[in-house]
């Protein structure tokens, strides 16, 4: 690439063979993770809708399913599994860490004291 880049010039040409192969593979990965997410979501809804599953099992089960589904979203749909995402991982995981502490603290402080 030349030293002067015009960022408003339309990009021309095809991606390289290597990139095309990667994109084809990615398409497959993304479709598989989408099917998995549909399956996980349906399982979560079914375990609550069905009377056969006791709620003592269903509640931890759907929380686990939510955690799996979010991981799929972050690492496949949002590409956090790729190289060069160290800072991205640090930011999201610190955000989640503080969010978990916040949820626990608020639940206990408001919930236990008031109800």
């Amino acid at each position: 690439m030349s030293s002067h880049v015009d960022p408003s010039a339309p990009l021309q040409g095809e991606p390289t063979k290597n990139t095309q192969r990667k994109l084809k593979k990615e398409m497959r990965t993304q479709l598989v993770s989408f099917v998995l997410m549909i399956f996980i979501t349906s399982m979560a809804f079914l375990s609550i809708a069905s009377d056969a599953i006791p709620s003592g099992f269903a509640i931890p089960f759907i929380l686990l399913l939510a955690a799996i589904q979010v991981t799929l979203q972050l690492y496949f749909f949002m590409h956090m599994n790729e190289k060069g995402t160290a800072w991205v991982n640090i930011m999201i995981w610190s955000g989640l860490f503080i969010a978990v502490l916040t949820v626990a603290a608020l639940m206990l402080l408001i919930g236990v004291v008031k109800y």
Partner: protein
């Protein structure tokens, strides 16, 4: 002479056009920093909701209001819109600008469908006696789910603006990071919804 050079200047498609310039890389990193902050924002709203959800006073409670079928449809709409935006990014990396625009429009359409369902949902709840200040549960519920809905609305407006502004420009190093960050935002909306349908709706009915 200089004009001729400008005319002939063409950029070839890099493998990751959204990260090909310093500006693009900065946008990408800065946007994730913002998403880390958004996580904490929603964390505090979830914490408040979980603390207050049993405070229903005389108003209707979660089990009286929520219907699984409506929530299931909304979840599927949002999940599918996440997939269409993935397709948009794959088309962008292929250099297929038309494909990018079409899949982004599909994402916008699904986002609007989601909003219509949510407005219908809130309208129904209001007519069943759940006003914003009816109970602690009502306020916490409307704030949490409403903030998410506001994010969906903002995402729809953002992507629509990009689509209209860049309808004819073709894929450039300027607009590739813009579309990419908008898609990241859209996925993040779906991430939040996963927790909402689990914690608010499924636990509200089953727990």
């Amino acid at each position: 002479m200089a004009e001729n050079e400008a005319m002939e200047q063409q950029q070839t498609l890099p493998p990751n056009p959204e990260k090909a310039t310093l500006e693009g890389r900065n946008k990408y990193l800065g946007f994730w920093f913002f998403l880390g902050g958004e996580t904490v924002l929603f964390g505090s709203l979830f914490g408040t909701y979980l603390g207050l959800r049993s405070g229903v006073l005389d108003g209707p409670g979660p089990a009286d209001l929520f219907h699984l079928d409506l929530v299931f449809i909304m979840t599927m709409i949002l999940l599918t819109s996440s997939l269409t935006s993935v397709f948009a990014v794959i088309n962008m990396k292929r250099g297929n600008y038309k494909g990018l625009l079409i899949w982004m429009w599909a994402t916008v359409a699904l986002g609007v469908a989601f909003l219509v369902f949510e407005i219908y949902e809130f309208y129904e709840y209001y007519h069943q006696g759940l006003g914003f200040s009816t109970s602690a549960f009502a306020s916490a519920f409307y704030t949490l789910v409403g903030t998410h809905g506001a994010h969906v609305l903002f995402g729809v407006l953002w992507i629509t603006t990009l689509l209209i502004r860049y309808r004819k420009s073709g894929l450039t190093l300027t607009n590739a990071p813009k579309f990419y960050t908008a898609v990241l935002y859209w996925h993040f909306i779906d991430v939040v919804w996963v927790f909402i349908f689990t914690v608010v709706y499924l636990l509200g009915i089953g727990g």
